[in-house]
Amino acid sequence: MSLAVLTPKIGLRISLSRDDLMMRGALVALVVMLLLIVGLPLWALLAKGFEDSDGKFVGLANYVSYFSTPALVNSALNSLHVSAVCTLIVVPISFLYAYALTRTVLPMRWLFQGVALIPIFAPSLLPGLALIYLFGNQGFFKALLDGGSIYGFDGMVIAQVFYCFPHATMILVTALATADARLYEAADALGASKLRVFFTVTLPGAKYGLISAALVVFTMVMTDFGIAKVIAGNFNVLATDVYKQVIGQQNFSMGAVVGMVLLAPAALAFVVDRLVQRKQVALLTARAVPLIPRPKPGRDAFFTIFCTIVCLWILTILGMAAWGSLIKYWPYNLSLTFANYEFGNFDSNGWGSYFNSLWMAAGAAIVGTAIMFVGAWLNEKTKGFGLVRGLVQLLAFLPMAVPGLVLGLGYIFFFNAPNNPLNFLYATMAILVINTVAHFYTVGHLTATTALKQIDPEFESVSASLKVPIWKTFGRVTVPICLPAILDIAIYLFVNAMTTVSSVIFLYAPDTKLASVAAVNIEEAGATAAAAALCLVIVVTSAAVKALHLLVDRFLLGRLQAWRRR
């Protein structure tokens, strides 16, 4: 063993392969990009709050004046109030609905599942418009309100419940779907009563889902702009305050302060949710036996009725908006017409804004999916480089915590700054695409990461041992395997780009106005029917794209990816 003596013990220098260098380079580029589209705009917003209108640093002066203006503070309290009430209403309804979908035997389950998702395809102002038709000053059931008004707290709650319902339900379906049948068998064998089983097995199993759903609903209501804009009336909330300060009064510094106030609860909810999610990991073991509900007439009948009522309510709101969009002159001339769909009569862009939306959504779906998937892959597969990977993870998660309005505001401050070399992007279609990709980055990144974690981690080791470059394996193996997840991300981006209002409302130029924004403008001008018509066009488009996705998933992928079958 003379060799052992001769070999000096020095720190080892690991040389990097071409793959390693390429991936590290790409990862650095990703960090720079995320800083530009997420980090720096938020920083610009934060900084703006400490400046006066001339850009001079004034410390906390803006915050002091905010908190000493009763009207503004009142909005914050209103926001908290309405968010809390909506959370208390939505979560129980969603829980029962999700329970019905996962734990009971429903006739036509797929129909109940589909209808519950409808609100996702609509811009948030749609339920507001429908409520105006139903209970507005000239609404059908105005008399039922007994002199009250739908504009304000009540209207906002009803519309928000419609808007938030599918999001909470999806989370709870996931939480309830992953049950271990053996736990129930054990409880039965031990002679526990149904009620006791519910409180000792079902509820604890769904605990994290419930917390998550509550936080999501709270944040959505808090930060939504469309509904507040249409139906809040004189009930001021933070989201409308931001808009008024920035668009109405051109008071950017105060807008930034309101934005920061809006950011705080959303960010807090996000942090709590992450902490809760972390605990959930080990809840279900790989050996769990999936729970398959067995028919039980009484229970099934009850839940069928319950779900039918919920679905009728959703369809009523959607149908009301649809009907309203087809009526000549509400409520005096109820004859049907397509005149409200001639958007040129209501907005100078006419149908142009719809095609802008289509282009923007397609662009965001293609560019965003590519960046998110490649980015998640780089972050998963790069060896070492922990600091940069941590930074990517942080920046990828940040958008989830940031309300769209706040991000949009940050974009104004960052990209509109005259000394920013990127300000040529301002008021272009590109900035709308960039903003949408940034706004919805987190979910795409998470979807891609989850899909990547599910495939064998040794693929890259194998290709290295076979001297095949890693990008070749990415193209030939990783992408085909993850195709369903990639499609999911693309559709998610497309639908959200079609329906989003909050972030882009600050960023459009006259020729890049989007359909959802145009709907807000048209409604503002008093043409409720045309606004409803435009919202409906958006619903139909996103729902059609989603339906197409399901078809592709089922038939095309089934044929192209024969290898998935045994």
Partner: protein
């Protein structure tokens, strides 16, 4: 003398935890070596360091005289098979096996020929057009083997290749892999926690524990002359009887003295453990003057199929118990039942002594 693979002073740390401590090891060309040890002993870490997949913290690795210590995996010469097989599910068997050949700019016909040759070699000549999901676990493992061998690597690394298979398939593949390795003469390292697998397949076994090498030797050496109590206990079954070293060639256990091979390394008077394998305990035809004769009571008899495992209590020393394997013949001939009194002997040449 230079070996095919030389590992020198290899260490791997994860923060404060030392996964591998100062490992040195030589492997000759064409050898089949098994890294054997319990989970967490560092055997897979060592394999991955040799592959360059998880580089060591310090130490050197030379392969065929070339220092590969700091090279990325793609610049080393090895083929690897994982426990999960890591077959590309969206590629056919042919494409999987040819995966590494395509990037070597060989002609299509040439690649095709090589793939057919490899599939024949692993006994799957007709499965080229199938997808991995359509194959059984054992077949998938053969495809993984063919893929790893496709580029004719100088070193074949097998990371628990048989653990995911059921017992029968495992037995058959053991022989097939060993035969294949012998035919090709490729230097092979296999990681396993299954001692039987290591004993039947390896030319040499490296027994590891807590990130260090306990013993390197042929299967016979490892089984017959375990260097440490850990090896003795981990490989096969072993009786351990606690006692004191009375003289270099005598251990006192309870009230009895037992003859043993001369112990140079242990001081007289130290606490020791005397060990013997259950099958080495003699029962029949004991000569009158045989050493280490012990009268025992049969306390338990566990039927294991081909033989019975008997728990024996030393008479007059009830705390001292040992386990012995009795053949069915022996049980029938001697009429052994629970409670039978017997004389057994612990042949001194089969006895080993370890410090307690």
């Amino acid at each position: 003398m230079s070996h095919y693979l030389e590992v020198r002073n290899l260490s791997k740390r994860f923060g404060d935890f030392s996964a591998l401590g100062d490992i040195s090891l030589d492997i000759a060309e064409g050898e089949f070596v098994c890294f054997l040890g319990p989970s967490g002993c560092g055997k897979t870490t060592l394999l991955r360091a040799i592959a360059g997949l998880d580089p060591q913290t310090s130490g050197t690795i030379r392969q065929k005289g070339r220092d590969v210590s700091g090279l990325p995996p793609a610049q080393r010469d090895f083929g690897i098979v994982f426990q999960s097989y890591a077959l590309f599910p969206n590629l056919t068997v042919t494409d999987n096996v040819g995966y590494g050949l395509v990037s070597r700019r060989q002609g299509r016909a040439q690649i095709e020929k090589r793939v057919i040759e490899l599939l024949a070699l692993v006994g799957l000549p007709d499965s080229g057009s199938k997808y991995p999901a359509q194959l059984s676990g054992g077949q998938q493992q053969r495809v993984a083997l063919a893929r790893a061998l496709a580029t004719s690597p100088g070193l074949l690394l097998l990371d628990e290749p048989l653990s995911a298979l059921d017992a029968r398939v495992r037995l058959r593949l053991r022989h097939e892999i060993k035969a294949l390795q012998r035919t090709l003469g490729v230097t092979t390292i296999m990681v396993t926690h299954d001692q039987e697998e290591a004993l039947t397949m390896a030319d040499r076994i490296v027994v590891m524990n807590h990130g260090a090498i306990e013993q390197v030797g042929s299967p016979q050496e490892i089984y017959r002359q375990p260097a440490t109590a850990f090896v003795a206990d981990f490989v096969g079954s072993m009786n351990f009887l606690s006692g004191t070293l009375e003289a270099p060639e005598r251990v006192k256990i309870g009230g009895r003295a037992f003859a043993c091979p001369a112990q140079d390394g242990l001081a007289v008077g130290t606490a020791v453990r005397l060990s013997i394998r259950p099958e080495d305990v003699r029962v029949r035809d004991l000569p009158a003057d045989i050493q280490n004769r012990v009268p025992v009571d049969v306390a338990e008899l566990d039927f294991v199929g081909a033989f019975c495992r008997a728990t024996l209590k030393v008479q007059g020393d009830g705390d001292v118990a040992l386990v012995a394997d009795f053949s069915s013949n022996l049980i029938r001939d001697l009429g052994v039942v629970i409670g039978t009194r017997l004389d057994v002997a612990l042949p001194p040449d089969r006895v080993r002594v370890y410090a307690a």
